[in-house]
Subunit: 430 residues, 2 copies
């Protein structure tokens, strides 16, 4: 752990620098697989599934029978936990539905805005040791509320051609329309171009390794939208002497176990707290099954002492953390002043893992400083805001002159004509 | 003009194909200028301003005096028109403000969502023959409502080192914080990296030529967000015998005058209307100052006859037009059924140019099929949705068990520990 006391503002950006990854070498591989999937469809997908996942599958679409088996095999306490999480996520995202915005800007000029669902979406759920069924909930639940009518989920099969049952259970529970056993670059390429089996979608959501991240970026060059740019997960905690060191340490470690490149930062106005948290981390770290991973992330972590809360807030806004925990006497000060953070957790009894799983907020959040300019996934991520307008004759008379003048000043005569013709017709009716 | 009768659905995508541009040759230039601006700052910007705009400027920041001169030189009828447009845009975008979403998902678990402004934004306004002061309104007005505190506008100077007075007038009227005389790739690079004079921003908005478009795409690789991917402007009109052919023709032409690559499409259930519109286009085209440009776009335009409105709607949703005008007896059918369009104009007295300038809706819209997955610029484009949560002891007891079970099932023990520690502490208090 690196303890840093009173860093000067001009050193903040280097202290808070994130680990950057070079993707140039990956890009060539991704482009090649994209080309092949675009040209050869399912057969290219099968080739790479065999190569990367070691599975040869007669059929990549998960069958009704496989879903039924999965539903039976998931333990009932896990089912109940998933159902509670789903219920909370549903409540919070349903509350995000916005009414039509309707304004008569001047008499006879009616303008409105409506959100309409993105019709076809793809969800990517990684495989591997940690089956992220929680991410299925975070993506499929709002997609369903938004009204997306085609929700395709791709996840890599294991060597036996299976997807983790909890993922299938969650997908079925949340109304995913199709589950496909395909992962990695070939999954993203399939969703981008469409194949005989994989539907082409308009937007792709979900986490993934470096290959998936680069593939999602490449997909945007072919007209597909993505949820947000990805990066290693990160947590920043601001804490003072009202915080409980063991709790703070447990939150820092829950971030650290994600990966060796996870970012873990504590900012405090109390040197005493910093020392206490440092000690607690050592105690708790020793018994973690993912100790090796967490240890590496913790080695790079920063424990930063600053003179006062004002400086702390400035530093935090400059960093823009994905997750931001506030355990401070002055939590209102931080809540009101934080502009750059993905999701904010307030108080000693609000661990980050609550938001990761079950409180109702979304866990797909902007990392890598993108909290400065991107929203986390929310209901609107699955919709587009469309505008409508209907103008009466009276309305056109009210704004027509202004349009003519502006169009002429911009040198666009045909824009002006479209109004002039109509105004003349109205005039002639009299 | 190409008249097409009853095209089969499997030919739609080729009939409606958009002109694609290759950007590979531009990319190298853009990358080189980015590198140089990143390294050398203002001096690199000055070099390219001299090279591309033919202007050598002692100072690229527009002064108070230049603003004052511009305000004096804009004719008063244009000022009034701009003020009316601004007032309507302000009304419509202010109505888009969303209240905090606050939900207690289960007892003691409080979750809320708030929109907070993106703090630093850049607006790009092209120079050239058509000074797009209307775009200044469309971007700066919602930015101001959202509460962005740094609004930087870049626009290329003419050979005399000047920016069009109407652009300066609009920028000043709308509260732009800084106007810089810099255009093209060097402007986007400056906003991306920051220079001695140009502030680094978090999100870049605004139209531009191919170079600017590629530069904006490249900016996203350096952590900057952009409004949306760009493409040539497009208009699709659906019209039947209730439409007025001269009006329809005038709208098609107002789209066509944007550029030779503009997309102009008419879909109709009436052959009679198609013929009448074709005739009207010839009559109106002849007197346009931008006839040469419009003629080229019109030559590529499509007049498509289909058997019925159901087929028409399917075809339109497959295309996903940026601008969609409905002049039909069945306007409700189209309004309710359209899922993929940027902005919708309803009725004979609602020309597209109303939305381009003064009705109140935004004219920065998704083109090139992006209406399927992107919103047009709206108030939320200038904000990020952030989530907050505060959980009481009681709340954690209500959801803690579910979090523990899910974290364990995902193999994330430290996530579980963060809850277990707290639940034990609560238990021990008893």
């Amino acid at each position: 752990m690196n303890k840093i006391y009173n860093p000067k503002p001009d050193t903040w950006s280097s202290i808070l620098e994130r680990p950057t990854k070079t993707v140039d070498d990956i890009e060539a591989t991704v482009k090649e697989i994209f080309k092949e999937v675009q040209k050869k469809g399912d057969s290219a997908v099968a080739k790479y599934t065999s190569l990367f996942d070691g599975a040869i599958l007669p059929n990549i679409e998960v069958t009704k029978q496989e879903i039924d088996e999965a539903v039976l095999s998931v333990p009932s306490d896990l089912k109940e936990a998933i159902q509670l999480a789903k219920s909370n996520i549903k409540k919070f995202h349903t509350a995000q539905i916005t009414a039509q915005v309707n304004v008569e800007t001047v008499e006879g000029v009616n303008c409105w805005q409506e959100k309409r669902p993105i019709q076809k979406i793809g969800l990517y759920i990684p495989g591997g040791t940690a089956p992220l069924f929680s991410t299925v909930l975070m993506l499929a639940v709002p997609a369903k509320i938004a009204g997306c009518n085609e929700i395709v989920l791709c996840s890599p099969p294991d060597k036996n051609g299976k997807i983790n049952p909890a993922i299938l259970y969650a997908a079925n529970l949340c109304g995913v329309t199709k589950v496909l056993k395909v992962g990695g670059i070939q999954a993203i390429a399939g969703l981008t171009f469409g194949t005989e089996t994989i539907p082409k979608v308009y937007k792709i959501f979900g986490p993934g390794n470096q290959y998936v991240t680069v593939a999602k970026q490449l997909a945007t060059q072919f007209g597909v939208a993505i949820d947000m740019p990805a990066g290693p997960s990160e947590l920043l905690i601001v804490a003072d002497d009202t915080a409980i060191p063991a709790f703070v340490a447990s939150d820092l470690l829950s971030q650290a176990e994600h990966g060796a490149d996870s970012q873990v930062i504590l900012v405090s106005t109390s040197k005493k707290l910093i020392d206490a948290v440092e000690l607690e981390i050592q105690i708790q770290l020793d018994v973690l099954p993912r100790k090796e991973i967490a240890e590496k992330a913790i080695a790079n972590s920063k424990l930063i002492f600053v003179e006062n809360d004002k400086i702390a807030l400035e530093l935090i806004n400059e960093y823009g953390p994905e997750h931001f925990i506030i355990c401070s006497e002055f939590d209102d000060f931080y809540c009101n002043g934080i502009y750059n953070a993905g999701s904010v957790f307030i108080g000693n009894y609000t661990p980050e893992s609550a938001g990761d799983y079950a409180s109702g907020t979304n866990h797909t959040l902007p990392t890598n400083g993108y909290a400065k300019n991107y929203s986390g996934v929310n209901l609107d991520s699955f919709t587009k805001a469309m505008t409508f307008q209907k103008i009466s004759k009276k309305g056109l008379q009210n704004i027509g002159k202004a349009i003519e003048i502006m169009a002429e000043a911009e040198g666009l005569q045909a824009h002006k004509n479209a109004v002039t013709l109509r105004l003349k017709a109205i005039e002639n009716e009299k």
